[in-house]
């Protein structure tokens, strides 16, 4: 809402309240001033053009003027031709900054001295016209323009949707009055207008067919008026508020709306067919040529105002072209009606049309406003266009607005705000806002809400009114003193932090990628089985919820590769979204997942190295989260390399998959080299956590032995290790494979595995011969079970 500071002065005394201070008061009481533009024209002077001649040498059309500024005559160069001799023009002298922000300098323009600037209306923020120099209707050479156009300012106020009463200068003026402690100059309801014969009902018949959607209809005819331009000061005000002046009748409706926040409409009475208007639902197939020149198809969900022949306006939204006020109009009907906000919003959405009127009506204006608006606009029409106002206006009001009364316990104000507001101050605040407070016998308050406020209904609303005007700044900040009767710790997010720390410590960079992905991508990767699709996506790129983190990480790897950063290590911890089989359209499962990938070189060995890296990360995670030691088992997964993939098992439960990605997947994402990835289901992972067991330090020394065996390919290391553990029993503290080796010397189809074994007894120092014996038994077992030869 664009608000003129000077216009506010019609409603509240602004004496000694500069625009900036008014803006601050409004912002801090709930009407946020987004921007403030001060229009101070005191430095601009009136000039009288004495002489105008074309510039002799410029290629662009330029004119050289001699301008009388009272005390002196100056030469001024301008590009517009309209400052002809004898005209009065606004002149900004060098050094001045005009309101639009331009700084005026002395300049030579194509060789001719220019010592000042003649301003357009736009440069002075007095209008939109920037094509020519503004011509003044009055003024003396040398006079300050500030005397003709006193200081004003445009405040762009953000009005919250609950406060449509502030979509007009009166509402903002009342806020300013309340917060600055100044009285309001005008009553909410304009005075009654004595009308003349014939009564309105003889000029037009009106009926409401939908009383739920049209809550009131006030119709005031004015006859014998003369359409013409509205007064200049009115046009200035309208322009400051962002409205283009049209004629005195239409401007009166706009002006009334900008004061009261209540849109009204003027019909050309003589262009209404059949002498009647009905507020009804539009019929299928009906359409209306609207004021903006567009023809709109209507539907029965929309309300129209129709005359005997068909729709003449879309209710509360826009008028029709054919019944509009024109230059030859003499008789008008001022319509001021109450509309159902939800219905107006639906109409507005269906038509893709949001007008000044619908933007206000969709918020649900109080029906009482309809009469106020009608009175104000009718008075303005009579003042600016003349004519006769008729008696006995039509006022259809099927369900009169009920007054709202709120029962308030005054202690509640202090209790909710956490500050002591003296009762006299609370009451004065409410009074300034238009509330009436009656103190009951028991001390409680019976608060009557003003008719233009439909947003106040409960005691907390009243507390808010007091608090925001009293000043939130005056409330002391405190921290709640907690009652502490019991403590139910929620599952914390600490394990997730631990996971992030482990991955970061292992050299992986955390990515945060959107949960929204492309359904086509998931489908292509075979990940769409439990995918949830959006009903109203904004693009095909973001039309489904992801079921896996991997595609996102692959995209990140590609982006970095394309920007000169190949072979990144990435991870993400986030939810994936899986449709539930029982209720596929209801809520979804949203398990937390971990994905990590290492983008490596292209050699097979690089892939194996990456694999072992992620395995090390998994083992480290298991340790950090106090999980059982993970087991890895050959597995297959469509996205993974058929020979280089393992399931991650915790206590025999599958918690995820680890392996090299299928080369074709890397190719899909244009990734060079190999990509190794880890995917873990964090619910399973964290569910396997066990209390950490701390072992005492050993008291006896360990005996280290290495064991190297050559055995046929295809024997998994884990099986060999299990056999070693089985033979060596409890004296074997640790067995770790540290080398896998193949060579022509060893022969075809065999590999060498080397293990480091640590033996220790908790009770005594082991002897060499004891350990030798265990090693011999181990070798024999490996020979029989795996055909392994010791090296």
């Amino acid at each position: 809402m664009r608000v003129s500071y000077r216009w506010l002065g019609d409603f509240v005394d602004l004496d000694g309240l500069p625009p900036q201070e008014a803006a601050n008061l409004l912002t801090m009481s709930g009407s946020k001033v987004e921007s403030l533009l001060v229009i101070d024209l005191s430095a601009i002077v009136v000039g009288k053009v004495l002489e105008q001649r074309p510039h002799p040498s410029s290629r662009d059309p330029l004119w050289i003027h001699q301008v009388d500024l009272g005390a002196e005559t100056r030469q001024i160069v301008a590009g517009a031709p309209n400052a002809t001799p004898g005209t009065l023009v606004p002149v900004a002298l060098p050094g001045t900054v005009v309101p639009s922000g331009k700084q005026v300098r002395d300049a030579k323009i194509a060789g001719e001295e220019g010592r000042g600037m003649m301003c357009s209306a736009a440069e002075l923020l007095l209008g939109e016209d920037h094509s020519g120099i503004m011509l003044l209707a009055e003024g003396k050479p040398g006079q300050s323009l500030g005397e003709l156009f006193p200081l004003d300012a445009v405040l762009d106020v953000e009005v919250t949707p609950n406060r449509p009463d502030c979509l007009g200068h009166m509402g903002i003026g009342r806020e300013l009055a309340a917060v600055s402690g100044r009285p309001m100059k005008r009553d909410f309801m304009p005075p009654f207008i004595e009308g003349e014969d014939p009564p309105a009902v003889d000029l037009i018949k009106i009926a409401i067919e939908e009383p739920d959607l049209c809550t009131r209809f006030v119709g005031a005819p004015v006859t014998g008026l003369k359409v013409g331009p509205s007064p200049a000061w009115v046009q200035v005000r309208l322009r400051l508020a962002g409205v283009r002046p049209i004629n005195n009748v239409v401007d009166a409706t706009a002006y009334g709306m900008l004061e009261y926040g209540k849109p009204t409409h003027a019909f050309d009475l003589r262009r209404l067919r059949g002498g009647e208007l009905r507020v009804r639902r539009a019929r299928d197939g009906e359409s209306l040529l609207c004021l903006d020149g567009q023809t709109r198809r209507l539907s029965p969900a929309m309300l129209v105002v129709a005359d005997g022949a068909g729709p003449v306006a879309i209710g509360g939204t826009i008028g029709g072209e054919e019944s509009a006020v024109q230059a030859d109009t003499t008789d008008v009907l001022i319509e001021s009606a109450g509309w159902n906000g939800v219905n107006i919003r639906g109409t507005s959405r269906a038509l893709g049309l949001r007008t000044e009127a619908s933007a206000r009506h969709e918020k649900g204006l109080a029906p009482e406003l309809a009469l106020a608006g009608a009175r104000r606009v009718t008075a303005l029409v009579r003042e600016w266009a003349g004519g006769t106002v008729h008696r006995e206006w039509i006022d259809l009001y099927p369900r009169p607005q009920e007054p709202i009364r709120v029962h308030v316990t005054p202690e509640k104000i202090d209790a909710l705000l956490g500050a002591h507001v003296p009762l006299t101050e609370s009451r004065a605040i409410l009074d300034r806002l238009g509330f009436q407070t009656r103190v009951q016998d028991d001390g409680d308050w019976d608060v009557m809400v003003p008719v233009f406020r439909l947003d106040v209904a409960i005691p907390e609303d009243v507390v808010e009114e007091v608090g925001r005007i009293y000043g939130v700044d005056r409330i002391p900040p405190t921290l709640p003193g907690r009652r502490h009767e019991r403590w139910t710790p929620a599952p914390t997010t600490r394990p997730l932090e631990t996971i992030r720390q482990v991955l970061a410590g292992a050299g992986f960079a955390e990515a945060v990628t959107p949960g929204l992905v492309s359904s086509a991508l998931l489908e292509k990767l075979g990940l769409a089985e439990r995918m949830r699709r959006l009903l109203n996506p904004m693009s095909e790129e973001l039309d489904a919820m992801r079921t896996s983190l991997l595609p996102s990480l692959l995209q990140v790897a590609r982006l970095n590769q394309n920007r000169g950063r190949p072979q990144v290590r990435l991870f993400e911890v986030a939810r994936v979204y899986l449709a539930r089989s029982q209720d596929p359209t209801g809520l979804a499962d949203e398990p937390l997942a971990l994905a990590a990938l290492a983008h490596t070189g292209g050699a097979p060995a690089a892939g194996r190295e990456g694999f072992l890296l992620l395995k090390a990360v998994t083992d480290r995670l298991a340790h950090a989260l106090s999980l059982p030691l993970p087991a890895y088992e050959r597995a297959s997964d469509a996205l993974f390399h058929p020979g280089r993939t393992a399931a991650v098992l915790l206590d025999g439960v599958r918690a995820g998959v680890l392996g090299e990605l299928h080369p074709s997947l890397g190719a899909d994402f244009d990734l060079d080299g190999r990509v190794v990835a880890l995917q873990l289901d964090l619910e399973t992972l964290l569910g396997a956590a066990k209390p950490r067991q701390v072992r005492p330090l050993p008291r006896f020394p360990a005996v280290q032995r290495d064991l190297a065996v050559v055995l046929p390919e295809g024997q998994p290391t884990a099986a060999v290790q299990a056999a070693i553990r089985d033979v060596a029993g409890s004296l074997l503290e640790l067995v770790r494979a540290f080398d896998e080796y193949r060579s022509p010397e060893l022969g075809e189809g065999v590999k060498s595995l080397a293990f480091a074994l640590t033996f220790r007894s908790p009770e005594r120092t082991l002897t060499d011969s004891e350990v030798d014996q265990l090693m011999d038994q181990t070798r024999r077992r490996l020979e029989t079970e795996f055909k392994a030869k010791s090296r």
């Binding site: 209790a415 500050a419 992030r500 955390e510 009903l535 982006l559 979804a588």
Partner: protein
């Protein structure tokens, strides 16, 4: 006897001249080793006449002790000299750059989220979670946003089901009712960080997906002052004690009274600059006292309890902490950006 004395005299002289630990070790082997003349003499004692054995043995051991003591003393001297000369002997070029540590890092949004969690956990708040694919009830209806409400901007909501009953949550406020239902009896002090979605076109200042943190406190006698103090504590813990907080009244359907809270601009200190659009303050988040209808919908009696809630975007908080101009950078994951935090 003179043989031992000669040996010792000779040995002490050479020990005094030794210049390194290696020299000393060689001398030790020469004079005290198994093949040294002293050792040889002592091991040949059996051949000596019985009456002489004790005497020779004693003298031999004394010689060994003397030499041993001299070796030790000289080793001490050499060590002391070395310590005194460390600067010239072992100096390195301290200006040579270190090779980078091979370490990953945590995404800045999670760094900030984690910081916010830690700050509020100190006040006794617990982290609470809720689904992102949410019912209309938890996301809107229960928060005093009935169907047709002016503030329920359908244009901004992603739907998953035809009847608009399942949505992608547009705010983490959807966790409020779930938290009240789970915890049941106040005091309830929870925060709910998480992802939210709105149908905004992707540009430098808008994302269709972002992260929020919701805070909710419900207890007997909570006030606007408590809300204000909590926000002050949070903002100043995050950004520093010079960053003041102001609350401006505004409108939200789920709080009454409602406020927006601003943080004093860190760059200009309130004077107004480009960074804050000449306002001196940076919009930070929304907050207010929980609307009685919301408490009721959460199963709590608004006559007994009051509550306050606040919410803000994690991206926004990160912008306030670091000067980032383009929100998209947070989700692009160009590591040259990510690694700066």
């Amino acid at each position: 006897m003179t043989e031992f004395e000669n040996t010792v005299a000779h040995g002490l002289e050479r020990i005094a001249k030794a210049t390194s630990d290696d020299d000393l070790e060689r001398l030790r082997i020469e004079y005290l080793g198994r093949n040294s003349s002293i050792s040889q003499t002592l091991s040949g004692l059996a051949a000596e006449p019985k009456e002489k054995r004790a005497e020779i043995g004693k003298a031999g051991n004394e010689a060994k002790q003397k030499i041993g003591a001299a070796l030790e003393a000289r080793a001490g001297e050499l060590a002391a000299t070395r310590m005194g000369k460390l600067a010239e002997l072992e100096a390195i070029d301290v200006t040579f750059p270190a090779p980078p540590l091979d370490r990953g890092h945590i995404h800045v949004l999670n760094q900030v989220r984690s910081e916010v969690e830690t700050i509020l956990e100190r006040l006794g708040y617990q982290v609470e979670e809720g689904p992102e694919i949410e019912t209309d009830w938890y996301c809107f209806e229960a928060l005093n946003l009935p169907k047709g409400h002016a503030s329920r901007d359908l244009q901004e909501t992603f739907f998953l089901a035809e009847d608009e009953s399942i949505v992608l949550r547009t705010h983490t406020s959807s966790v409020q009712i779930r938290a009240m239902e789970r915890l049941r009896t106040p005091p309830i002090f929870v925060i709910a960080p998480g992802r939210v979605y709105r149908r905004d076109n992707l540009d430098a200042t808008h994302l269709p997906y972002f992260m929020q943190v919701e805070g909710l406190a419900v207890d007997e006698g909570l006030t606007v002052g408590d809300l204000k103090g909590t926000l002050l504590y949070l903002v100043q813990s995050l950004f520093g004690p010079e960053r003041r907080v102001r609350m401006r009244p505004t409108y939200f359907p789920y709080t009454e009274p409602s406020f927006e809270f601003d943080t004093l601009c860190g760059r200009c200190g309130g004077a107004g600059c480009r960074s804050c659009g000449n306002q001196g303050w940076l919009e930070t988040g929304g907050c207010g006292m929980v609307h009685p209808n919301v408490l009721r919908n959460g199963g709590l009696d608004p006559d007994q309890y009051t509550g306050f809630a606040w919410g803000f975007g994690i991206e926004r908080m990160t912008l306030l902490k670091y000067d980032v101009e383009d929100l998209r950078l947070f989700y692009e994951n160009d590591l040259r950006f990510n690694e700066q935090f």
